[in-house]
């Protein structure tokens, strides 16, 4: 007995596989001979008269005439597609349109192998993808998600919403395993895998039925090889999928935020950096005559010094200050001027002011050592075009080892503006879910 069991279960002792014999039927409308390749087919479209035929009953029944073919399908019924080492055949073709926009066309092929079942090959704007049903479910309600938002499935994959909407069946030929009707509307949400692997997850709902699919983008070259059709379309540059777009936005937002933060930090640090090496006040008389300051010490070669001149008594007046940096006793190494003006008033019920009591200049000192400032200034009331003496006192301050905070501030503000634009752009992209990219 044990030997008999062993024989029965030995390799190649089983019954030989019964042959695959597609079923031949006749179109009940025009009588043309048709072949049913998949025994699960419920709807067959007659190749000759376009009748839609229900083949679920013993007696095939015509449901109506289908629409004329309006679109080119690069693949024909019966074309082959090699997938995972097996040959599949195109047994149905469908055209779906979104929002009644003919440019939003998806061509879908149903591919069949009697041993392996069916899967779908989709083509949208020259981009191909394949999908198969899956039992892996989303952890959150998929239809509440907007483009760019993320969703986890129970296999711990993270997905980014690619787009959502509803498309309508406009055309079908071949044989389908359900009774499709022209005008059938399917609501969908598509996701791309977050890491940019090209894997796709989709949820489709029609009536009460919700189905999940797992797929993969397929480069045109692979489709050419799988179908053996070298002339299949023109290679399109694949647009960024939602996961890639989202990642680009988030990366740019992160970079802009970092640039902004770094610049504001440097700006803050530069404001508090440096040591005051000279503070000296001069009378109007002193400054009218040429005057030289007390010495100050610049600590390091190449240090930046900030020279601030201030006249707090300026009142609707201006002051022109000529300065020179003097090394040692009398060697002028740099001359510059610094103009002050401050005006204010009351006009139309509102007070106003413009200008400033102070101004700063940054000078790079080549080598460390003792320096002094040589100064001369004239000032006058605002309505006077010229002056030959100063009417106002002047205070001068020198800070050694400063950083120019203006540049950091400007760069920080620029980064802030870019950050703002990126956030607005990201929100707009998320809301602009017409799937037209």
């Amino acid at each position: 007995m044990s030997e008999s069991i062993s024989d029965r279960f030995s390799l190649d002792q089983g019954r030989r596989r019964p042959p695959y014999k597609p079923k031949d039927i006749h179109c009940p409308h025009c009588g043309a001979g048709l072949t049913l390749k998949d025994e699960r087919s419920e709807l067959v479209v007659c190749n000759y008269c376009s009748s839609h035929i229900n083949v679920t009953e013993e007696q095939a029944k015509v449901l109506g005439k289908g629409p004329e073919l309006q679109w080119d399908f690069p693949l024909k019924l019966g074309d082959q597609y090699r997938f995972k080492g097996a040959r599949y055949e195109v047994i149905a073709r469908m055209a779906f349109i979104e929002d009644n926009d003919a440019s939003e066309l998806t061509r879908e092929y149903l591919l069949y192998n009697p041993r392996r079942g069916t899967f779908y090959l989709d083509e949208y704007h020259g981009q191909y993808s394949i999908s198969e049903p899956t039992h892996v479910m989303p952890k959150a309600h998929p239809f509440t998600k907007k483009r760019g938002e993320t969703l986890f499935t129970y296999d711990n994959q993270k997905w980014v919403v690619e787009g959502s909407g509803a498309y309508t069946l406009e055309y079908v030929d071949g044989a389908l395993p359900w009774i499709a009707q022209i005008g059938d509307k399917i609501t969908y949400v598509e996701f791309s895998e977050q890491s940019g692997s090209g894997r796709q997850y989709e949820v489709e709902a029609q009536g009460d039925e919700v189905e999940f699919g797992m797929g993969q983008a397929v480069p045109l070259e692979l489709v050419r090889r799988a179908t053996g059709k070298e002339t299949l379309g023109i290679e399109q540059v694949a647009p960024l999928d939602a996961a890639q777009t989202r990642r680009w936005f988030l990366m740019m937002i992160l970079v802009s935020g970092l640039v902004m933060a770094v610049n504001f930090i440097f700006c803050f640090l530069s404001l508090s950096r440096g040591s005051e090496v000279l503070t000296q006040s001069f009378t109007a008389q002193q400054i009218t005559d040429e005057v030289i300051s007390n010495p100050f010490f610049v600590a390091n070669n190449g240090n930046l010094i900030e020279v601030t001149v201030e006249s707090s008594s300026l009142d609707n007046a201006w002051m022109a200050v000529d300065l020179a940096v003097v090394e040692g006793d009398d060697m002028v190494i740099h001359t510059f001027d610094s103009d002050l003006e401050y005006y204010h008033g009351y006009e139309g019920g509102e007070s106003w002011s413009e200008g400033s009591h102070s101004a700063s200049t940054y000078i790079k000192i080549p080598k460390s050592g003792n320096y002094r400032l040589l100064m001369h200034a004239v000032s006058n009331r605002g309505d006077a075009a010229s002056a030959d003496q100063s009417e106002h006192d002047l205070r001068v301050k020198v800070t050694d080892g400063v950083l120019m905070y203006h540049y950091f501030l400007a760069a920080g503000i620029f980064a802030l503006a870019v950050l703002f634009l990126l956030i607005v752009g990201y929100q707009k992209w998320k809301e602009d879910d017409d799937d037209d990219d």
Binding site: R15, Y20, N113, T118, P133, V136, D155
Partner: protein
Amino acid sequence: MNNLTVTCPSCGAGHEIRNPGVIMVVCEYCGNAIYWDKEKIQNAGKQSTLPEGFTRLYRGAAGSLFKKRFVVLGRVRYSFGRGFWDEWFLEFEDGSTGWLSEDNQELCLEAPMQGAAVGQFESHKIGDKLKIEDKEFVVEEVGLAECIGVEGDLPFHFATGEKYQFVDASSPDGHYTLGIEYDNDPPTVFRGNWLSYASVKLDDEGNDW
């Protein structure tokens, strides 16, 4: 009951029954069904012929599942209104048996489980969650199954036209299956695994298609 030989009352063909769990056989020559109990053999009449060649599994196929050799003894096909699925009855080389469900060539291996509280059929709808022995399942399908054909050796008496309500569920991670058949009180509950294509190996895969 080992090596029981039954003779088809319709065409006279002899059938050798090797597995003791088998109580029904559909004559492969004339399509007549015979079933028996301890007392007598009864004729269940002619059954619908199920088409062959369209499925991955087939009656008499030999292969291995998780490195365990098996032979397909029989099949029951059920319609759920918008399609059908096949239940393949398997005998393993150690004499044990099991069921493989095939729907659109997707396979799952199921075994009956005892004592699971699954509630009334009316309490289930698509999307509902069920917790069975600390494992969560989500209902994917509810409906009325109708037996539309049988073939080969089977462990129960099946008859074309028999109907029962059913609930099919999957674990959300896509690994496990739960099937509830409201054919008895309490209902029969099956739990199993979805199988990858590679986990089932047939001696004759038919890759020449």
